[in-house]
Amino acid sequence: MIRFKNVHKTFGAGDNQVCAAQGIDLEIPVGQLCGIMGPSGSGKSTLLHIAAGLVDADQGSVSIGARDVSRMTAEELTLMRRREVGVVFQFFNLLPYLDARENVELPLLLDAINTDERRNRATKALEMVGLLHRATHRPPQMSGGEMQRVAIARALVISPRLVLADEPTGNLDSAAGRQIISLLRDINDSTGVTMLVVTHDPVWAANCDRVVRLVDGLVSEDTYLKPRDSVDSETNGRPAVAETGGKNGRKAATALQ
């Protein structure tokens, strides 16, 4: 489970101050595919970056499982990304001179995992994203959708507890975007890995277990699209409609179920 507790984050100072998070409370149970939506500047990416340990929260805490991310050192956060959390970016961020397999193997290489195991795991990850036949191709030889699939394979190769995706379809055409959405959905279904996906794309809404909408650094809606008990037994007994209003004038979420 990933839990954000009263998370605050402000960028800039004086007149240029931007509040990206103004006390976000959110729990994402294990295995859930949660979409974070909202207008530009609402704090979606910041929330994801805080979860990945790429940005520090000014106040509040974030925990992944039993570990408090906000108390971890920079080195521990880096190792967490290497071993537990897969990150997928809008702009793929593949190394252009490595082929698909090598890009996928990169996090394993850092932990000195032996070549055979590395190869097997990279092969499985590429198979999972349907790109095994492009294993020896380099990023410049691939389409945007293919590059994003390689990036997803790289995130999955470490068998992560959590996958964080920052607008993974934002740089793709609609057809490629749909394929990526479908792919992540399938991976979530088959592996049960928790996923937090920041997106602008309304198509995601129909594919997520839950959609959290942020506005001005606050959770404005929290919508479950899939029965919670089918996702995580931890939430059993809790109301299907999350009531998130109250403090800081937050609006009540609408339950679709």
Partner: protein, 857 residues
């Protein structure tokens, strides 16, 4: 870590061959210079020692005259043979003679072959057997080593013609020396003959270069040395062949320190290029760094990756540098020989023998360390990049300087300048060459640091002018400069460093040339000079017998003739100083007065003329702590001579200072009737050409003599000074190559960094001319700043070298002459080189693929 290195670094290096080549090139240039100079320096020491030892055969002691080109009476050899413990004493002539009609020289070796032990002492083995005594009984006979005969295509019975004091002389090759004999084994081109034949050839009346002493096997060399010392008194010095080689090697050690310092400067520049290349690499790879950080690579792993990369490049480049260095050593050997000859008046035929394992290991270690040190700061910067910042393609202004950072750089530069001042004060006080080198290095570092705030300041101040001149392109250029002031400063510093080095060399060269030529032209004047055609490696001609003097004096039209005798290696205490003996005509107030630094010429000169006092040069006074009025104790062939110093004068005859005295005193006390040069003053009634022809005719039987007009004499000295500084020309060329490479790299990374900006401008309709103008305007500012900084830095550096370092390093006190012409030439050349270097990146700017640049991957 090696996996990350092999997977990421090696591919990056392969992907960017230009930058990789630059990183390698920077270290290759530096290491090649260091290893070449190291090889040559070693070779100088080895060859001095080998040359002295090998040609000494089995002799364990030698008697030499107090001055390096002074000679001993041959009778000493016969007197000393009776000293207890001495097995044999052999007179030796060891000189260099030119082959007639050829540029080659032979090393003339002659001894008394009537002495039955000569053959055994020098390992003279005749090919096919034979007795050297019988063979060389014929004064027209000579021996050649087998390999020399092969090289010159000579066989037994052929003749070899050499030029000596009595003109050309032919010698019959009577036999060949076997290659395994001591003399032949040295590999030198010896011409071996009997001592009397050699004395005749060189017009040496019963004089020899040295006496070789072979002790009995059971005798104590130390005891014999003491006994010999007592026996010869002040007439000669008793030395070991090894010590004599060492003596020459020590004499040139300061010069070796200087050339090594200069080679380290090349390495410093190389380091700077590596720093620049790695910095540029960090900028171009920041997205990859961000990706690595995002997928879990630790800061220290990034740092280690860059460190491993620089170590790998360092090892490869240093290895290449060593090989290039060995080649360079061969190319520079003649220049180094020439330089040492001119400055120290010693013949050092330096031939680089090839790469030495010790030198190679040292150079590879040094090069690798430099590469690592140069890469540490950029590597640290790379490791410090925040993953999100690194993944952001937008220009971030990370390179922009804030006011406080600019102040830090200025403060650091100011601290270094203070260090320079402190080092110079300490250098003068403690006469420390090392402190001078620190001062010089600190000065270069100071203006490298100063280039950072300078670029920032210029970008701000020049903005209105750039906008006015170039419009939008000017504004873009000024924005780019402000945004990347640290990177731009690297280009400015590279240019400034190169220019400053060039100006330093040129300043030294000009000050040396003008000081010496001015001195020769106004002090050692006259209308013509008569001297030997041959030198012992430097500018000073071989001594000639003063018997030639009456023949020149009696030539019609000759008013008077003055003589000059310079003993270049006179032993004063532990130092090797010049002993300058001048005839009376030089010691007039009109003539010598202007050269007095301390003392009154009108009082001093009569005393010197009478032989009752001496003058010392300014550098002699400074280096040996001898003051006006002090008594100077000198060893002469006639015993100790104690005379007062009545004047301190400007003199450029010796790096370690000179003692100036009257010719008559010198001839009597040192028993040396020779002179190096006659200065001939003529009446104005005769045409110079006719006068010269008459002088040539008067000495026509002496093929070894030359007659020069004053202008030719000045040109002769100028050409020797140019020879001494030929090495500097090679260094300048290397510096220019490095500058070119550095500027291309910095501008190329600037263009690379601005691809997105150019693409955006292209989208809104900016044409290629605008982009080109922007890059050119930016480089114009960089070039101007680099040139201004370089001229200032070079001028101060030249002043420091001429006024301080040169004196303590080499002993000369020179007048500073700023090299305006050379500066203008170098600045123009640097501007052209830098503009050409800009052309490539400017073209790249116009060729940026808009869509490609706007995409993130």
């Amino acid at each position: 870590m090696l996996r990350l290195f092999s997977l990421v670094s090696l591919r990056e290096l392969r992907l960017k061959p230009g930058r990789t080549a630059l990183m390698l090139g920077g270290i290759v240039v530096g290491v090649s210079m260091v290893s070449a100079i190291e090889l040559l320096n070693r070779e100088v020491v080895e060859q001095f020692r080998d040359s002295m030892e090998n040609a000494s055969g089995r002799a364990e002691l030698q008697l030499v005259a107090p001055g390096t080109d002074s000679r001993l009476p041959d009778e000493l050899a016969y007197d000393l043979a009776n000293v207890s413990g001495v097995k044999t004493a052999l007179p030796v002539i060891d000189a260099s003679v030119p082959m007639a009609d050829s540029a080659s020289r032979l090393r003339l070796f002659a001894t008394d072959f009537t002495n039955p032990r000569a053959e055994e002492t020098y390992g003279v083995t005749i090919v096919g057997g034979g007795d050297p005594l019988e063979i060389l009984a014929d004064p027209g006979a000579a021996l050649l080593p087998e390999q020399t005969a092969r090289r010159l295509s000579l066989a037994v019975g052929d003749t070899v013609t050499v030029s000596g004091a009595i003109g050309r002389q032919q010698f019959r090759v009577a036999a060949l020396l076997a290659g395994d004999g001591l003399l032949a084994a040295t590999g030198e081109d010896f011409l071996v003959m009997d001592i009397m034949a050699a004395q005749r050839l060189l017009a040496l009346d019963r004089l020899v270069d040295r006496v070789d002493i072979v002790p009995f096997e059971d005798a104590s060399v130390a005891d014999i040395k003491a006994l010999l010392g007592e026996a010869v008194g002040h007439k000669a010095q008793v030395v070991t062949p090894y010590g004599r080689g060492n003596y020459f090697a020590n004499a040139v050690s300061s010069f070796q320190v200087m050339v090594f310092s200069l080679s380290l400067l090349a390495l410093l520049t190389g380091m700077f290029i590596v720093y620049s290349a790695v910095s540029a690499s960090v900028v171009s790879r920041q997205r990859a760094i961000g990706t690595l950080r995002a997928v879990g690579v630790l800061r220290r792993e990034i740092m280690l990756m860059f460190a491993a990369e620089s170590v790998a490049c360092g090892v490869v480049a240093s290895t290449i540098g060593c090989l290039v260095g060995a080649l360079l050593a061969r190319l520079l050997s003649s220049q180094l020989s020439g330089a040492m000859g001119v400055i120290f008046q010693v013949r050092a035929e330096i031939t680089a023998s090839g790469l030495d394992a010790g030198v190679a290991l040292k150079a590879i270690g040094l090069g690798t360390l430099c590469s690592l040190v140069a890469a540490l700061l950029p590597a640290w910067k790379a490791a410090s990049l925040h993953p999100l910042e690194a993944l952001d393609d937008r220009p971030s202004g990370r390179e922009a300087l804030e006011g406080s950072q600019s102040r830090y750089f200025s403060l650091a530069a100011a601290v270094l300048v203070a260090l320079v001042v402190a080092c110079i004060i300490a250098e003068v006080k403690f006469r420390s060459i090392m402190l001078g080198n620190i001062a010089s290095t600190a000065w270069f570092l100071a203006f490298i640091l100063a280039s950072v705030p300078a670029v920032s300041w210029l970008a701000l101040r020049l903005r209105p002018a750039l906008v006015h001149t170039f419009g939008l392109a000017g504004r873009m250029a000024s924005e780019s400069l402000a945004r990347s002031s640290r990177r731009s400063a690297v280009a400015v510093a590279a240019l400034a460093l190169s220019l400053a080095t060039t100006i330093t060399f040129a300043g030294l060269f000009l000050s040396f040339e003008r000081s010496i030529v001015g001195y020769v032209g106004t002090f050692m004047d006259g209308d013509f000079s008569v001297s030997s055609r041959h030198t012992r490696g430097g500018w000073l001609e071989e001594p000639i017998d003063s018997a030639i003097l009456p023949r020149v004096e009696t030539v019609p039209g000759v008013d008077r003739v003055e003589t000059l005798r310079l003993v270049s290696g006179y032993q004063y205490g532990a130092a090797r100083v010049g002993l300058l003996a001048l005839s009376d005509g030089f010691f007039t107030v009109d003539h010598y007065g202007p050269w007095f630094v301390e003392g009154t010429a009108s009082d001093a000169l009569p005393a010197v003329r009478k032989g009752a006092a001496v003058l010392v040069s300014e550098n002699f006074s400074r280096l040996h702590g001898v003051e006006l009025g002090q008594q100077l104790l000198m060893n002469t062939a006639e015993g100790e001579l104690d005379l007062p110093v009545v004047g301190i004068v400007v003199d450029y005859t010796s790096d370690q200072g000179a003692i100036v005295l009257a010719s008559r005193l010198y001839a009597a006390q040192w028993r040396d009737p020779t002179v190096n040069r006659l200065h001939v003053y003529t009446s104005s009634s005769r045409e110079p050409a006719a006068m010269r022809a008459a002088l040539v005719h008067a000495v026509s039987d002496r093929e070894d003599l030359k007659v020069l007009s004053l202008s030719s004499l000045l040109e002769y000295h100028s050409s020797h000074v140019r020879r001494a500084f030929a090495l500097a020309g090679s260094l300048e060329l290397l510096m220019l190559i490095v500058t070119f490479a550095g500027i291309v790299d910095v501008l190329a990374s600037s263009v690379n960094d601005r691809r997105r900006e150019f693409a955006l401008l292209s989208v809104v309709g900016a044409d290629s001319r605008l982009l080109t103008r922007s890059v050119m305007a930016e480089s114009a500012v960089l070039i101007s700043a680099g040139i201004c900084l370089g001229i200032f830095g070079g001028a101060v550096s030249a002043w420091m070298w001429v006024e301080f370092h040169w004196t303590w390093l080499l002993g000369w006190i020179l007048e500073l002459h700023f090299p305006w012409q050379a500066t203008a030439r170098a600045a123009l050349l640097a501007a052209v080189v830098a503009t050409l270097a800009t052309w490539g990146p400017a073209r790249t700017a116009t060729r940026v693929d808009t869509m490609e640049a706007l995409r993130s991957d």
